[in-house]
């Protein structure tokens, strides 16, 4: 049952992505594609949620302990935030920038081996859930911030270069994009901080030290530092707009780098990353 719900949600996410891309390519102001996109994404999200609860129930712990589950949950978090932002801001074309990213994560999850190794007893702890949920929500917020930051850069390019064709009229205003980016970073940063703190407590419980300076942990600290700088620079020096957008993209690329590189290497005591 788990596999089927996953496949169904993948199929719906795929449809959502196709509709979002059609929306992007259509110059006509047809409202049908955004609606179809949102509908498919919501149905996919429903099946996806069922899948996560089912596997978690079967495993007896939060189901994010291997790369397959982790990337799938990452995608789930992104969709969750996407729905919230879509409801809150009703921003045009955001789906076209976000659903491909989320679908890509789902697809990566799909091709990864579905190993269901039992979790080593030393890691069985309530901190597992706290750490992973906060880490992924934070990463999802940063991913969205990067997506919205990219939208900002595209829109700013139109305004600066004075060629107001293409997506100019359909993309939201610079102010809104900058504000969403800012909100996402300010939301993601404390979530990420909680993830790091809970992770180190968990590490202390499991191995007896808060930090073991393994690559994954260093990457996490680097990421934390980058987003800390993004926030600080914005609040103190007015680094808004283009710089904030570029920095949040850079921050997200570090996260992806950590994910990809370290997941492939599979070294260290960190379970899957």
């Amino acid at each position: 049952m788990g596999a089927i719900t996953f496949d169904i949600s993948l199929a719906f996410y795929f449809c959502a992505m196709i509709f979002s891309l059609l929306d992007l390519s259509k110059s006509t102001k047809t409202k049908i594609f955004p609606k179809l996109m949102l509908l498919s994404a919501l149905v996919g999200f429903g099946f996806h949620t069922v899948y996560i609860f089912y596997t978690g129930f079967m495993a007896g712990h939060v189901p994010f302990v291997n790369p397959r589950e982790a990337t799938s949950f990452f995608a789930w978090c992104i969709f969750l935030l996407f729905f919230i932002l879509e409801y809150r801001y009703k921003v045009g074309l955001m789906g076209s920038f976000i659903t491909p990213l989320a679908f890509l994560l789902m697809f990566i999850s799909f091709i990864l081996p579905p190993e269901m190794k039992p979790l080593s007893p030393v890691l069985r702890s309530q901190w597992l859930g706290v750490h992973t949920v906060f880490a992924f929500l934070a990463n999802a917020a940063f991913a969205m911030a990067a997506g919205v930051g990219f939208m900002y850069l595209v829109q700013e390019h139109y305004v600066k270069s004075k060629h107001l064709g293409g997506l100019f009229s359909r993309l939201p205003s610079l102010h809104v994009l900058d504000e969403i980016n800012y909100r996402l970073v300010t939301a993601g940063f404390p979530l990420f901080t909680i993830a790091i703190i809970s992770g180190s407590i968990w590490a202390d419980n499991a191995w007896g030290s808060y930090i073991s300076w393994e690559p994954r942990q260093i990457w996490a600290l680097v990421t934390w530092l980058i987003f800390g700088i993004v926030l600080h620079a914005r609040l103190q020096r007015g680094w808004r707009g283009r710089r904030a957008a570029a920095l949040s993209i850079l921050g997200f690329l570090t996260i992806i780098g950590a994910f990809a590189g370290l997941a492939l290497l599979q070294k260290g005591s960190h379970v899957f990353l």
Binding site: V159, L164, P172, S173, L174, R242
Partner: protein
């Protein structure tokens, strides 16, 4: 009598020259009567705005009048004639008629389709009318120009251009700020187009409009119009720290806002975005400013470019306007030509009447008649005179191509000097 125009506009002369040659305040009345005093000039109208100074005249000989007018302008504004050569243009007859039609229709404006010029033309005509500076030719010319402008406005979309430029500015502002509600607008200088753009922004709910103009009084007037406030021109940099949208049209011949200024201002603003619109020609804001972060600078050409996404359509509309004008110039020219035969008609009538009077006088001297008889003979004489000159008069008034020939023949036949 023929139409002659002497003038300069934003294309032919810098704002400094335009300002020197402007007929403002008392100068307008003085200038008008001084022009009318020139031997060649029978009628005159002066149109003097920020972007143009033009004198329309009814003259006998355009060639001779040109020299006199140039001398007059040079003397009146105490500017050497040599300096005027580059700035001044002269048109006579149908090019002159075409010119005033294009000016009134706003095809010759800095921002094509800008609506204020027609009002300015009307005001100039009204003033000349009050001062009795106009006659048949100028009255007809100006009335026609005003009606042509109205035709162009209603029958083509040219007038939409200026509106769409300020509309484009508002659209852009929305794409930068999203909501214009809390935004503050600074007007640098008080040109016609800037006023239009500011009005559009105000209708879209900006919080405040501040005017910084070189002439403080004019700034105050404008600020009152917008329920805003006026500041002295020298204070504009301090004001820019609080302004989200800056509309610049000072008419200065060089840059007024430089990159370094704005760099400092942006620091003080903590990089809050600024949208700058430079409506001036030549530009008043250093274009390099667009390179600064969070600063978005658009000049008139840029905005025109935004509007011009449908260039073909616009070209067609402009062509339509030019066609209307060409047709109307023809109509006017035909009327003006018919004006040429009037002196001949008058001379012919006078001559015939003189002959009639002289013959009656002789007859009454030789043959004694009572009053009744005299009246009857006089009546007959008048009838003969009128009937004899009726056909040549009608022929003169008729709208024919070789009217000049007709005039010459009739003058010769009847020996009209």
């Amino acid at each position: 009598m023929r139409v002659l125009v002497a003038g300069l506009n934003h294309k032919s002369a810098d704002v400094e020259v335009r300002e020197k040659l402007a007929f403002t305040g008392e100068k307008l009345e003085q200038g008008l009567s001084a022009i009318l005093a020139l031997p060649q000039v029978k009628e005159a109208i002066i149109i003097s705005t920020c972007n143009r100074v033009e004198i329309y005249m009814g003259v006998e000989d355009p060639g001779e009048a040109t020299g006199q007018v140039k001398q007059f302008i040079s003397a009146f504004h105490s500017i050497p004639e040599k300096l005027l050569d580059k700035a001044l243009y002269f048109h006579n007859d149908s090019p002159a008629v075409r010119h005033i039609f294009r000016v009134a229709s706003s095809l010759d404006s800095m921002v094509v389709g800008e609506p204020q010029i027609l009002g300015q033309v009307k005001a100039a005509f009204q003033f000349a009318l009050e001062k009795k500076a106009t006659g048949v030719l100028m009255n007809r010319l100006m009335k026609k120009a005003i009606s042509v402008a109205k035709r162009v406005r209603t029958e083509t979309k040219v007038a939409e251009n200026a509106v769409s430029i300020s509309f484009a500015a508002v659209e852009l502002a929305r794409k930068i700020f999203n909501d214009l509600g809390g935004k503050s607008v600074l007007l640098l200088g008080a040109g016609e187009m800037a006023e239009l753009a500011a009005r559009h922004l105000m209708n879209n709910g900006v919080r405040e409009i501040v005017v910084a103009n070189r002439t403080f009084e004019r700034g105050c007037e404008l600020a009152q119009d917008f329920n805003g406030r006026a500041v002295t021109f020298s204070a504009f940099k301090d004001e820019m720290v609080h302004s989200d949208i800056v509309i610049c049209s000072t008419g200065a011949p060089n840059y007024v806002v430089f990159k370094q200024d704005l760099h400092n201002i942006m620091k003080e603003r903590k990089q809050r975005p600024v949208f700058m619109i430079d409506i001036s020609v030549p530009r008043n804001i250093d274009p390099k400013i667009n390179g600064l972060e969070n600063v978005y600078l658009y000049d008139v050409d840029d905005l025109q470019g935004v509007v011009d996404s449908n260039k073909n359509e616009r070209g067609k509309e402009a062509q339509k306007a030019e066609d209307i004008i060409t047709g109307e110039v023809d109509v006017f020219e035909r009327w003006a030509a018919s004006l040429q035969s009037i002196p001949t008609v008058v001379a012919l009538r006078q001559k015939a009447q003189c002959i009639g009077e002289a013959e009656l006088e002789r007859l009454f001297n030789r043959v004694p008649m009572d009053e009744k008889q005299q009246g009857a003979v006089r009546q007959m004489a008048t009838a003969i005179v009128n009937k004899l000159i009726h056909s040549p008069t009608a022929a003169l008034k008729e709208d024919v191509e070789d009217r000049d020939l007709f005039i010459a023949i009739i003058r010769k036949l009847y020996d009209l000097s």
